[in-house]
Amino acid sequence: MSASEVELDGEKLKGIRDTGLDDATLHGYLSKTWKTPDGLYGWLATVDHKRIAHRYVVTAFLFLVLAGISALVMRFQLASPEAGRVGPDLYNQLFTMHGTTMMFLFAVPMMEGFAIYLVPLMIGSRNVAFPRLNAFSYWVYVSGGLMIWVAFAFNTGADAGWFSYVPLAGPEYGTGKRPDFWAQMVTYTEVSALAVAVEIIATVFKQRAPGMTLDRMPIYVWSALVMAFIILFAMPAVMVSSTMLILDRLVGTQFFNPASGGDVLLWQHLFWFFGHPEVYIIFIPATGFVSAILPAFVRRPVFGYLGIVLSLIGIGLLSFGLWVHHMFATGLPQLGESFFTASSMMIAIPSGIQIFCWIATIWGGRPALAVPFLFVLGFIVTFVIGGLTGVMVASVPLDLQVHDTYFVVAHLHYVLMGGAVFPLLGAVYYWFPKITGRMLGEQLGKWNFWLVFIGFNATFFPMHILGLQGMPRRVYTYPLESGWGGTNLFVSLCSLALAAGFGVLFLNVVLSLRRGRLAGDNPWGASTLEWATTSPPPSYNFPRIPVVDHREPLWKNAEVLPVAEGLRIDAREVMVGTVADAVPQIRQPSADNSIWPFLAAIAVGVAFLASIYTPWAVVWGSLPVAVTFIGWFWPQAIPEDEE
């Protein structure tokens, strides 16, 4: 290696390019350039998208466990009528924390984490766009999550539902600081989600490998792109509404006070304008998982690429036109009812197109019943039920009977667990080898699948019937005479099987990390670029940037993948190309490790936290934020400038 350094020394001012270098030399330079320093500093300062994504996924799973435990405690209370195991105060905090955590701290960050990990690898780039923003987004997310759970530990857990309707969460009826913690947690996670959305859009549009035109982009990358756009347009609505809520509570504004000309329904419109697209922020990347997993196990490309991509975009657009179906019981004009019924039903069309295309894919392929594929099958079987009950609640008269009952609890879990968690678990089994270098155990995987599949259906299907029998949601107990006791006991018992399924998953992960079979680069014989590099990938992802001439690059070029050359290897650079055709345009410097995003996140976090107690925190808190941002953006002497 030293020999090649000497040889290239004369060119150092212009930077060292990867042109014509042998693999060992290339690896030497690249691993030095893209290295994350050892020790605590490196841990805090890294901007490697894989390490950050890793953290996102692990943290989101921890929040899943917390939210899952909350659910089990609720099921313990509901197992028998008029039980006194959990009082109303704790119960209300539990279901609020369960919903809030699942939506804001588990599902969305989990999908973002996977996107941050997979997108650069799938499009053949070395890092996401804006790597420091990426690091910042994780620290902001984790501080928001920690804050609301620490508050819960001190009996200040949010207790007005994950939707925090006013006036119940407003200044008059929201007790203590509970709704304030909720509102600020939303602000934290929204800031981080918006940051991730911006990164993903820029990465997908500008950093694709040469030749990866938009119509050669893997469907998963399309789904991440659509997810990012939905985040971009939906999240501001909830940031605005949660800020208005905290202003009402803290400085006496009257946005939601009807006595002063405010409007309590304004909250619902703003919240659901975000809240409904939120479901698709979770669901769309999950369908992307399905489209990514399927080809590897049926040995053919997904049928109907164009139809699926258009469906994803269609769902993304339509998701903004149906928020009012969460508000049918507030009373709407007949025309409004008809409009939102029709728009809500319409979203079943693109979802249906995807399902039909997947079934055609399986039909035309040669299925191998490996664990990721089992989860895909489980997804289709359960998600279709959730989709059909979705059509039911889209009907205004029907919804007026089942709204806010256990029917809707069943529906939303079929959509979110069936529609997103099943593909997610499939994705864990599918990409675990890439992320860790080891396979997850197949046998435990099957236990995992069947426990989750049977446990899930046995837990949630009976809830449809409970809802029709009149059991409302969010009740901490119910009378003996209701006759709901038997079904509730059955549901509570089955929830243990579901929990055991997740226990098996975690056991499998722990065992496989140590003893799992070594995976190799491409254990599933898959076709997309992330399988072209080692498992786990090196810090720089690819030694040479691949050139793409087909939708399934690794199937087309089974022997040798064509590569592009010319990037610098003594400084961090990524290749930037045109939006539609990915024709290389420039070599773009990529930010190096930095401690500033971490410090900035601390400053932002402290300012948000303090603003729960005094509005002046916004004023004084902006000073440290400004300092850390100045440090972050301080101009670097980029070697390229010396040319």
Binding site: P88, N92, P167
Partner: protein, 337 residues
Amino acid sequence: MDKLRCAGGIGALAVLLSGCSQWQSALHPQGGGARAILGLIWLFTAVSVVVWVLVVMALAMAVLHRRRGQQAGEPLVMDRRREQNFFRVVVTAVAVTVAVLVGLTFASFLTGKSNAALNGEAFTIHLTGHQWWWEARYQLDGQSDIVTANEIHLPVDLPIRVELDSADVIHSFWVPSLAGKRDLIPGRPSAITLLVEKAGTYRGQCAEFCGYQHAHMAMTVVAESRSAFDTWVARQRLDALPPKVDEARRGQAAFLGTGCALCHTIRGTPAAGAVGPDLTHLASRGSLAADTLPLTRGALAAWIADPQSIKPGARMPSIALSADDLNAVVAYLEGLQ
């Protein structure tokens, strides 16, 4: 064969559902609105079952159907004619989906329209939601109004207008046997029409999360013949009868003297509080504390002695009464027929 299976599935589901209790259930409609909606529920359920069975069968066949010699592991070579066939099948399936959705949307629209067409109301009930009980004011014929709580009486076969409002947070009025729910939103009064077909007692429950005791915010709707209803109205219009026995008289004094009267009204006495439910004809009701307890002597005593252990967070405070006073107050309230 498909159809047979589906019919079997629907049958099994129907048996499962009809085996359930008749308590506060959308499956046992006794009012025009709820009956129409139940028809819609069955229509949607039947269509859903058919669709689900077809999708799962297609999926099962896709996984299991026999395949001719292909190399395991190698990516398959696409056959153009086969892909075109898939395209035709998928397009057909999408077209059928669209047609089914249009049909369901239309059915939903017709049901909504017929439910909205109920009118010609005989009189109006103002229902106000409170944390965590219901206040009902009847506006009958210009004479003095009736005020009651947590139990409303209606004549059968007569459309009644129910105006909804809230005194604090959002609640939702829902009597599943009679009609779909409608929210009670502070600052946004609204109204629905109820039409009960059959005499009986129906339970309703708040359906919008409203705080600590959302679970214990229920109510009773008593539907009865016109004559029984008129008798009830006549009684409710009267002031409370003065207590007849000594114990009840002591109870009245204790009621008026210990703070109960600050929150509750008993017409015909100085008690005129407007915070809690009107108790003028408490003993004519079937239950207590928004249908949390049956209205019995023991339940009444337990509720007055320690409301916070029965309904934690309820706005009713525990008032320190001696055992004698407690019994006397219970005796007095029991006489408020």
